[in-house]
Symmetry: C2
């Protein structure tokens, strides 16, 4: 019986070859032409889970793409159960001509493996399958109970898993969830995402006259929906980034001194970060640091406006109906439904009677935050530290991972977001890649995590 | 020698038949497929001028569509010279399926003649040719000196005439200009437009990041050009319609008590006017009446905005560059160039350094106003009163007629805008028409005007 980490090290070349086989399957979930490929990826992954020694392996049919389930539940009732989540579907690959090697012909160049899905998320979910294999092949058992649930619609809505979770609470019951679908800071600096922002997304239509009017004949006598939209936007958020909707901040859980201290350690090079955006200045609420503003503070952004004449040159219409898309990123403990109501009430209140307005809350998802003191969080920190040789930093991510909220709501689970990607993995873009040393260290970190969790 | 007005009455059927011939020529100046037709309309009009007894008739070639010139200058040096302007080109006719009778097959239904150009402007310019014919055929002479300049690019830029005027000051020299290209209030209520607004048209581009960013990852740390645009728009004009650009109102010539009194007589049925717009409320500067706001007060309108994601559904971009089109309608004595500078300075001043802005003044034209006390204005009022049986009302039109400013600038001419159209003539739209009694009374009013002018 050898050491599982030793085993993982000795099998890196085979693990790479297997990952390449996984990546060859073009499981683009949004493109119906790839439906059979997407299913093939699920079947392939289930076979690898079976080979790794997992039990109750099942490809579960849904309305769209199948879910893959597997478990190993013999660690004992006194040991925790980890629910490992990932997704086997990938983003579309267009524009194809920007790829240096074809997206579904995984190619090693230097220390990187290039292919669609290499980092998001096939490479990262496969890490845990290989960790389980290493533990079962060397120890004949896992230190904790493990369940896998892997979906095929993460890049295309995720409705099937969203429906499956509340209907299968018993099957998915666990003590903690583990997801590897994020990036760490650099190859040397691991990171744990312990918070995600939620969202409330709004469509706004403003109508003035019933048809476009000539601004020469009517300008000055009829209110202009585009001018009104400007006033509404200006009254939603001030020029420093403070949101002006009454009640918006009421439920925001304040950052604790400890969190501010942890976030202050996050090694964000502002100058480099700014250069990557191409914007002239870093911007936002002056009372908070950039790291805090990006992950731990709510925001409001206008995502799109269209209205009036937008063709070339000059035309003098006073437009009839104009459209805006606006979202608010939320933090704990803001309630997306309440925020949608507050937004709607406020906008109705500030809209003059000289136009008609329609506010539609199209979707919402709550923010999530993982308690830094739970055993799994400590296990993750110890595992990273032992394998990467450096303590992880803690961060709150500005985007949303809807499944985290679903695990929280329906299964009562906190989630550990233990990423092995890097910020320049080019996910969703041409030439997606994974840094291979991270893939190998990921397998070792997962082994270490499961072992540490058994000790906590 | 019979009375010219009697002559006009006796020849109404022939004049209608001739107008129908004019309207059959599809002189759509913006469509190159109609270039030959547009020229044919110029040639046809020149022949009619010749037949009417005008002299020095010429079809003058330009870079695009020809100008038509004619004159009759034997009234004597003590008599004034009138420069009559009009245009023989017409708007496109699409969508064709909305026309009840084909746009270039002029059709009488009830008291209306339906055809493209019937009111704008073939029907109205032809009125003056027929008035001159009536005077010359009955009296053998005109009571004043007359020059005609008729262009073929009014609906497509008007560059050729704009270049011709300053190069032909002597040829076009006159005491007053006369244009019939506007509408009166109703068949019973004539109106004289004595003021036109000018314009200053701006294109605005705001750039934040160098590419669209994910608002989850970057929202709160990078300023959003669409939010900035909202703030800029809100700071250009307040919610009551007052423009906030410093210095904007400095040169605005105040409305005199006499003007306010004249404009108050303008019979605008606000309820009916509002119903036509479909807007929920009449709106604008509370210190001014609706009639004043529409013609005699400057405005600022956003005509178009496009930026960010404008497709269906929700997408969370933080957009890179967004675009807005904005114009200001100007009144005497605002200077469009100065207004463009004030706008640009102010917008630069209120734009935060977290975005980049580009302000482009694309064109400007000054407002114009005609002195109510000049002889030609009195002659026009008397002519309307005698023929229509009712004194005209006075109005200031909200739009621009660029040639009026060009006559003012290069020829020093004041312009009498003596319209014979009606507000529901559907100019620029399907089923354009002219109210035939107005066409006939127009000819009589033009005769009367030229006679009155000789007396003043």
């Amino acid at each position: 019986m050898s050491d599982p980490i030793e085993y993982a090290r000795n099998n890196e070349q085979r693990h790479l070859a297997e990952l390449q086989a996984f990546l060859r399957i073009p499981s683009v979930s949004t493109q119906p032409a790839h439906d059979a490929d997407t299913r093939a990826a699920a079947v392939w992954l289930a076979e690898m889970m079976q080979q790794a020694g997992l039990e109750n392996v099942a490809v579960i049919d849904t309305e769209r793409h199948p879910l893959v389930y597997a478990d190993w539940l013999h660690a004992g009732a006194d040991k925790p159960t980890v629910l490992i989540y990932g997704h086997y579907d990938v983003q579309p690959v267009e524009p194809l001509d920007l790829w240096k090697s074809p997206p579904f012909e995984p190619t090693v160049r230097g220390e990187y493996l290039y292919a669609r899905g290499a980092s998001d998320d096939k490479g990262q979910v496969f890490v845990h399958v290989k960790a389980v294999e290493a533990l079962l092949q060397t120890n004949g058992r896992l230190p904790v109970n493990v369940k896998f649930i892997v979906e095929g619609e993460e890049e295309s809505g995720g409705e099937s898993l969203a429906a499956f979770i509340p209907a299968n609470k018993e099957k998915l019951a666990a003590d903690v969830a583990l997801i590897s679908d994020t990036a760490i800071i650099s190859p040397e600096q691991p990171a744990i995402v312990y918070g995600l922002r939620g969202i409330c997304y709004i469509l706004l239509d403003i109508t003035g006259p019933s048809r476009d009017l000539h601004s020469g004949s009517f300008g000055g006598g009829i209110n202009n929906p585009l001018n009104v939209l400007g006033h509404i936007i200006a009254r939603l958020k001030d020029e420093e980034g403070h949101i002006l909707i009454p009640g918006f901040y009421d439920r925001v859980r304040p950052l604790t001194p400890r969190e501010r201290e942890l976030l202050a350690r996050f090694p964000l090079d502002e100058e480099k970060w700014l250069a990557e955006t191409g914007a002239p200045q870093v911007w936002g609420e002056p009372e908070y640091t950039l790291v805090e503003r990006l992950g731990a503070r709510p925001t409001l952004d206008v995502h799109g406006i269209i209205g009036g004449y937008t063709g070339p040159g000059a035309k003098t219409v006073l437009p009839s109906t104009v459209h805006a898309k606006i979202s608010m990123r939320l933090v704990p403990d803001q309630d997306p439904e309440e925020i949608g109501r507050l937004f709607t009430q406020y906008v109705h209140q500030i809209t003059p009677p000289s136009v008609r307005i329609n506010v539609q809350v199209v979707h919402g998802a709550p923010a999530s935050i993982t308690n830094l003191d739970i055993p799994a969080m400590k296990a993750a920190a110890t595992a990273y530290t032992k394998i990467f040789g450096r303590e992880p930093v803690y961060m709150r991510e500005g985007g949303s991972i809807p499944v985290v909220a679903e695990f929280q709501t329906h299964l009562g689970l906190e989630t550990i977001l233990m990423g092995f990607g890097l910020p320049d993995d080019r996910i969703h873009a041409p030439n997606e890649r994974i840094y291979l040393p991270n893939f190998y260290r990921g397998i070792q970190t997962s082994i270490q995590f499961l072992q540490e969790l058994a000790e906590e």
